[in-house]
């Protein structure tokens, strides 16, 4: 398995180069889906590898890490890998039907796979500059994908996204440059050791670098003061890409990179955790308040992404094992239900030709699959008991109370209620109510799109299973351990090299 680790990057990259040469749409469908399916299997296999061998370090080019680049797979990496590859497989499945509406399908798949390469590479890498390069790869591919429809609004959203996102990348690069000057190394484990030796108390230089990273990754994750690009960019993209962007891209590029750098390299200081909590609550409330007034389905969903990211940050910012468990589990769950919701909105757009809730109505009979899956996802995102969203929110709220922050818990509950109200609006206007005459002849969407939605709905329904001890020890608990014992990251990596 260790030898197969480079395939996470090499396979999608090679397929992306190949797909671009294809003229035939069917062949492109087949190759892209095969590629994402193999990656899904590989990512599931990493669960067992990490369980059996602990943390895995792979030396690229056989150079010992401070000299060469390393890939590091630990619990957190595995959680993200599984999430990203699961969503990407389902998105590519969904694209078979959905992308028939656009031209240049092979190019779409090529860009899709390049974005996937960027995310996989960023998650797996153990080198700071390498992380920046993958950040840009995923970023550049997503700018092009947001503008894929070449309508005026899409181009505008893409330009705005591109400017803010490149700014974020510049901040990250400046941070890497200063950190290199300060520690003379680029390997994350090595930097962590050097920083720990240099000084116990954080000085101005380290603080400044930390702020640069926080701004860079915060822009990528669309945390509230840095959010203005998200509600434009995510709705503008084609539906499978919206699902990827909201479901995994902001998490891999923003949250994961931030957690990795702050917990494993700088060491999580109380100041940082406090900042995370406050940013989390701000995102949670502002996002949901902005969402309530929206009538465009995809825009509404995009605002909810900001709000749900707030929950993840709040959970992790508490710093307690329970809070981190809740935060990471919510990260996984949010990927599932938000992707499902974007698939639903894509299906509505595909069938009814509009994204405006006021123009829809009574689609329940015409589109039973979309209606049922949308109901599951809506209940899940609002935190209604049997679904996965409930468990993670419950954990976060309980952790807030345990950590003696009942105020935070109150805000989380308020946010959840507002979410529920806004999704009741979606269900009411889109599916129930008076059927409109214009939509009398509507048909359900193609089967590949239905399949993707049904699989995600089942995951949402059974998501709580992951909390059973057997599954929890495989997927969630190792990830939590990585964050709690962030200081041990460097010693473990170096012990594996010996």
């Amino acid at each position: 398995m260790t030898r197969l680790l480079p395939l996470f990057i090499a396979l999608p990259l090679g397929c992306a180069f190949l797909v671009n040469l294809f003229k035939n749409k069917k062949a492109a469908d087949l190759l892209a889906n095969l590629c994402t399916f193999i990656l899904l299997i590989l990512s599931l296999a990493t669960i067992y590898t990490v369980k059996a061998h602990g943390i895995v370090v792979y030396k690229v080019g056989n150079w010992i890490p401070p000299i060469g680049i390393s890939m590091v797979v630990d619990g957190l990496t595995v959680l993200l890998l599984v999430t990203v590859n699961l969503i990407s497989f389902l998105s590519s499945l969904y694209s078979i039907g959905y992308m028939e509406k656009y031209t240049a399908k092979p190019k779409f798949y090529s860009l899709f796979l390049l974005m996937l390469t960027g995310m996989n590479g960023l998650i797996v890498t153990g080198d700071l500059f390498n992380m920046f390069v993958f950040l840009e790869l995923a970023g550049v591919a997503s700018y092009a994908l947001v503008a894929f429809g070449t309508e005026a609004e899409e181009l505008e959203a893409s330009f705005k996204y591109m400017i803010l996102s490149s700014l974020a990348a510049s901040f990250v690069l400046l941070g890497v440059a200063m950190l290199y000057s300060y520690t003379s190394s680029l390997n994350m484990a090595d930097i962590a050791l050097t920083l720990a030796q240099k000084s116990a108390s954080p000085n101005v230089t380290v603080l400044f670098i930390a702020v640069l990273f926080l701004m860079g990754f915060g822009l990528k994750a669309a945390i509230v003061p840095f959010h203005p690009w998200l509600p434009d960019a995510h709705p503008a993209a084609p539906a499978p890409i919206s699902a990827m962007l909201s479901g995994v891209l902001i998490k891999a590029l923003g949250i994961y990179a931030m957690l990795r750098v702050f917990f494993c390299v700088f060491g999580a200081s109380p100041l940082f955790l406090e900042t995370l909590c406050i940013l989390g609550i701000l995102s949670m409330i502002v996002g949901v308040l902005l969402a309530v007034g929206q009538w465009d389905v995809k825009r509404l969903l995009a605002y909810h992404s900001i709000s749900q990211i707030g929950y993840v940050l709040l959970g992790i910012g508490l710093g307690t094992p329970l809070g981190i468990l809740g935060g990471l589990f919510h990260l996984f769950n949010h990927s599932m239900f938000k992707s499902l919701l974007f698939f639903n909105s894509g299906s509505l757009d595909y069938a009814a030709g509009t994204r405006n809730l006021k123009e829809m109505g009574g689609l329940k009979d015409a589109m039973p699959v979309t209606e049922k899956t949308c109901l599951v996802a809506s209940l899940s995102i609002s935190g209604i008991p049997p679904f996965n969203g409930f468990w993670s929110k419950l954990f976060i709220i309980v952790a807030c109370v345990q950590a003696k922050h009942p105020g935070y818990a109150l805000w989380a509950i308020i946010g959840s209620l507002l979410t529920l109200s806004s999704f009741m609006k979606v269900m009411r206007y889109a599916f129930y109510g008076m059927p409109k005459k214009a939509y009398a002849s509507l048909k359900e969407v193609p089967s590949s799109m239905q399949a993707a939605m049904i699989i995600l709905a089942i995951i949402c329904l059974l998501g709580g299973v992951l909390l059973f001890p057997l599954f929890r020890s495989a997927l969630l608990q190792p990830a939590v351990d990585v964050l709690i014992n962030g200081k041990n990251y460097a010693p473990i990596v170096f012990s594996k090299l010996k």
Partner: protein, 184 residues
């Protein structure tokens, strides 16, 4: 005969000031073509500073990239309407940007003092490259041995980014984006 030797810092500071002024000109000047050309001057300034800093690889690359950027930017600006009606200037935006920049600079001034002094890098990893590089990779150009051997993985991804961007350009500039079926 005595020569007055200028240290690199002495050469760089005027050059930096030239670049800062050049970039302000590039941003503030009204005529678009002049603005693009001012940016070209800044790029040449960067090239010269790379030469002073003993980075010939970068100087070559920066120069050719600069030429290409200029050609692309001139293509984008030429023959296009550049008339901007004078609207009210958004003072709030300018002031908030300036305040942000001021805070950033003050903070960074304090932070920069913690870094090693200019001209004295720590070179923990780099000295290993220099002492072993020629034996281990066989390349005499250390930069080439780093970008293509020690850190070749980065370069692979970097090349893919360029590929992505080219693909993105061809996607964005395609004539028809969506297939519409006009049924309704």
């Amino acid at each position: 005969m005595e020569y007055i030797t200028l240290t690199e810092a002495d050469q760089l500071i005027p050059l930096m000031i030239f670049m800062i002024i050049g970039s302000i000109v590039a941003l503030e000047i009204k005529d678009m073509l002049s603005s693009v050309i001012a940016m070209g001057a800044v790029g040449v300034g960067v090239t010269i500073s790379f030469l002073i800093l003993k980075a010939p690889d970068l100087a070559i690359t920066q120069l050719v990239v600069e030429i290409l950027c200029l050609i692309l930017l001139v293509r984008a600006t030429i023959k296009r309407e550049m008339y901007f009606p004078r609207k009210h200037v958004d003072y709030l935006r300018i002031i908030s940007a300036l305040v942000l920049i001021f805070v950033f600079l003050v903070f960074s001034y304090a932070a920069l003092r913690g870094l090693p002094q200019f001209g004295m890098p720590i070179m923990k990893v780099a000295s290993e490259y220099i002492s072993r590089g020629i034996r281990e990779t066989g390349a005499t150009n250390m930069v080439a041995s780093i970008i293509l051997d020690y850190r070749g993985y980065d370069t692979l991804i970097e090349a893919s980014i360029l590929f992505t961007a080219v693909l993105g350009v061809s996607v964005v500039l395609r004539a028809v984006g969506r297939i519409r079926n006009e049924k309704s």
